[in-house]
Symmetry: C2
Subunit: 344 residues, 2 copies
Amino acid sequence: MAITMRDVAQAADVSIKTVSNVINEHPNIKPGTRERVLLAIENLGYQPNLSARGLRSGRTDVISLIIPDLKNAYFAELADAVMTAASKRGKVVIIEQSGGLRERELEILHGPRMRMVDGVLYSVLGLSQQDADLIDIPTPIVLLGERIFNGPADHVTMQNIEASQAATEHLLERGRNRLLAFGAHRNEVIGSAGLRLEGYRRALQKAGLEYRDELAIDVQSWHRADGAQAMRKVLESGLAFDGVVAFNDSIALGAMRIMQDAGLKIPEDVAIIGFDDIDETRYSLPTLSTIDPGRREIAETAVAMLLERIDGPAVATPAREFEAGFKVICRESTAIPTASGVVT
Amino acid sequence: MAITMRDVAQAADVSIKTVSNVINEHPNIKPGTRERVLLAIENLGYQPNLSARGLRSGRTDVISLIIPDLKNAYFAELADAVMTAASKRGKVVIIEQSGGLRERELEILHGPRMRMVDGVLYSVLGLSQQDADLIDIPTPIVLLGERIFNGPADHVTMQNIEASQAATEHLLERGRNRLLAFGAHRNEVIGSAGLRLEGYRRALQKAGLEYRDELAIDVQSWHRADGAQAMRKVLESGLAFDGVVAFNDSIALGAMRIMQDAGLKIPEDVAIIGFDDIDETRYSLPTLSTIDPGRREIAETAVAMLLERIDGPAVATPAREFEAGFKVICRESTAIPTASGVVT
DNA sequence: CATAATTATTCCAACGTTGTAATCTTCTCT
DNA sequence: AGAGAAGATTACAACGTTGGAATAATTATG
């Protein structure tokens, strides 16, 4: 039915292998033959059968990206960055959504689809540190995120502690000193929440301020609705604060909306900074200050590392850790240095 | 290296083909043998080589989804819906981003990756009606969106005209009668913009109102920033209006922010309704009324149609058109029936 | 000019699976 | 019990490609 190398070979009057050699840019092909083959390919509209190539060569040029949820802006932007980076290197990306569920993540990691891809970028959410050995699969893998460190695989992440510290200092510098740590997960040590809380504490300490536990607000799931919900409770409780270090942009936006509903002015009454630099932060009212986590650098490094593993020698070189650089982005939500009407 | 059917066959003491038969749930396998094979598969951790299967059977169980941009919330949500629908039927999705560029769309459609997938869902943006024959490729294809109608392939879309008419009527019913058609593309007849403008006109006509060209506001690219930019111009021009029918949610949100900056109250001064029901509309301030375009229905129908084409007979049955149902979602941005302080 | 070295091309086998057809086994009915 | 049908299993070939070894054509070397 479809055109194969056989047809091209016939048309160009060479052997099938020569066609293959031309396509794969092997050395030692006479310019003349190359011309003829290329012409035949063009004329017949030949396209290689990737299944056959994959079978024979053991390579599919497809990599898998496991993320919790594409509807989440952070992951949509991450997926975009990964696809762009992969595309530059001639790879295609299959996205698998895990829902952040442990079982589903394991299912994907150990499922038959893994045999269809050359490697996996795995944005860990359901598994955690003590599961580190469960990710030791035959397919090359690079981990993303803050759930597993020093596991058996390469790991790319952002500078969570340093970035959170910088975000906190950003507010302190503007004269705010009753800062909510918004989005904490109380008994987590690593994980985004744990690390960001640590950064928050370090900034306070460095500024000579005491850490107050009541200012750490738990928000279990980092979606907008949860941020809104949590802020509603805070306001009801009458807790006093003049700044918010939100551990991601979505909950920051949710909280911002509730504060505004309650008549609080941002940034006059409360300054707020988020995390992730999702597109929406540029268009909210007010625009949201945030941390640019170095998404592009993360994506490009992760893809590069994965390809090294794929192409590299089978002998296991030790797992690497990489932290991308971050930037504090100052927008309207923290624009005013001094509070004019502090909530008490 | 990896475990193959050969190993399983050996372990279960059957032929390779029997293993294949068990895996593919062929009829006529003794329960006993099935047990033994399944056990061997379990013990050895066998996973089929999908490249080999693809080569032999001509099926990869992968479908491709071509969309303009994953960072765009509408397409992220569409991708999610498609992946969910595909996953239910055991298919995996490769996402290809076209940037909405004509050249890139053609490149993808005619590229070698098409040979790796069983079919394509193509959200058309770069091509248009007169290119209809360019999409007649050997791979089964289903078109999405409003750019190409009655082309050579199945087509799934929303009820643009009817939905836009309903959105407009929604505002009219609330006592607004100077409505912007926000997001028009002046010389477009089909395409989302053209159809939605038509729906707007029909609603006016039905209500006995005259269509005024100055109320149709061009917004070329439907991103938030463009909506903001366009609204800024409108306000500068001093044009009077008390309602906005925005042709998608992003430009509605962008416009909303600018109106609020200018001191306009929503919905008291201006009521506004968008299109698409993206997640964000539920969390903006105020929450945005919108049209639910039936995304899930679109995704499921499109996947179902595609699979029918893939599995169906090669004889070309005529292309089908399908329009999903829509719903008007009333939120805060149109909550107040009567204007209290109309801009003049 | 013969021979070695190099360059270009081809032949063959194999990757792991499934379709077809053939064979072997078990059951059903007279 | 034996013929025939139905059920279960297997042998073989093929899908389209590429790696490796072998061969053929060309160029360099003494």
